[in-house]
Symmetry: C2
Amino acid sequence: MTGPENVKLIIFDCFGTVVDWRGSIIEDLSKWGEQKGLSIDWALLADLWRGSYEPQMGRVRSGEIPWTNLDDLHFESLQAVLSELHAPELGQLDLMYINRVWHRLNPWPDAVEGLERLKRKFVIGPLSNANVSLLVNMAKFANLPWDHAFSCELYQHYKPDPETYLGVCRMMYLDPEEVMLCASHNYDLVAARECGLRTAFIPRSTEYGPGQKTDLTAEQEWDVIASDLIEFATEMSA
Amino acid sequence: MTGPENVKLIIFDCFGTVVDWRGSIIEDLSKWGEQKGLSIDWALLADLWRGSYEPQMGRVRSGEIPWTNLDDLHFESLQAVLSELHAPELGQLDLMYINRVWHRLNPWPDAVEGLERLKRKFVIGPLSNANVSLLVNMAKFANLPWDHAFSCELYQHYKPDPETYLGVCRMMYLDPEEVMLCASHNYDLVAARECGLRTAFIPRSTEYGPGQKTDLTAEQEWDVIASDLIEFATEMSA
């Protein structure tokens, strides 16, 4: 099996597909919390925080609130989650440190090697709901060799709105079939395919922790299905 | 002399500062024109074409026409220049090939090494009037290791409008004094300094050819003045 022809640009979902957000948050904040003497269940915090991700973006997508960058949505929901966990009162600097953990996420072990190979043959970049600064800082932290950060901030729409996938095509003057989305979430690929993009699925079966039940397998015949980003690079002859 | 403290992001003018647009256009199109059997004075074409750059952007900056990407402004002025030169009638594919020469520009000999050193310590990116696709394609062609392309397209304003310099600061959540513009054109640095950015000047005394009379020296005491991007990296301790 080889990837589809004519692909010039590969865009990647980030949280889950490229970086291990849950493991990174738990590791980073456990270490920091210990130094601070804070007893917070960081795994539970990570899960509740991420649980507010879809509803928070939904408020923007439905028009309930105007465009708001993910950093700001995160900050708002962080405070609600800390309150739900009956966490001790934290100062603004501490809240900002916690909120910026999304800029300090580690890549999955295969990610950097896979992306470096793909970069030699294709233009590569994230297409992520994260704002530009988050994506650029994350790339510096995790050594992700992006050519450009196609943040949803640039289109003022969150995925899976078609404005995001088609915004990338328009910005790069490419036809949808010259652009491929690589993601570990089927819903993202469904939306990209509806816009005419090529699709690649990579399972990340522990993204949500050991009991994950969603996105364990490809739910459609995506153009490429690979076990990780290194195998994906091989499938794309990169 | 060392560079100012607290700089986190360095943005670069591209045409002239990082890439040799005039030499590259003449070299690329002379070779192509010879194969095509076209007798056009490519040096004169490059000069006339670049001469229409400021007036074309001026139409956008003044509000005479709505936002228009540089590729489209180039295409329009290319046709006027070819007509002025009494060039033979060219088909659309040929016109597109010529217009895309701006995506195929060579870096100055010091550029890649200087940028690679700076990238280890700072976030780096172009702040250019060129559209995103042009900047991304140029970076692939010339091996420019940008972290992100801060195209003026993202702000829908051309330099030296303050919306461009401040748009970068806002997008990256940085204070103006944490951002430095490096350019070979004094007017660009004047505008950046007025917005509170740090400034670095690199002379490119043959950008406009052997008879260049402008921007041969720094016209103000910029924060850093260096002979090329390698010396600039050294000044910034990178």
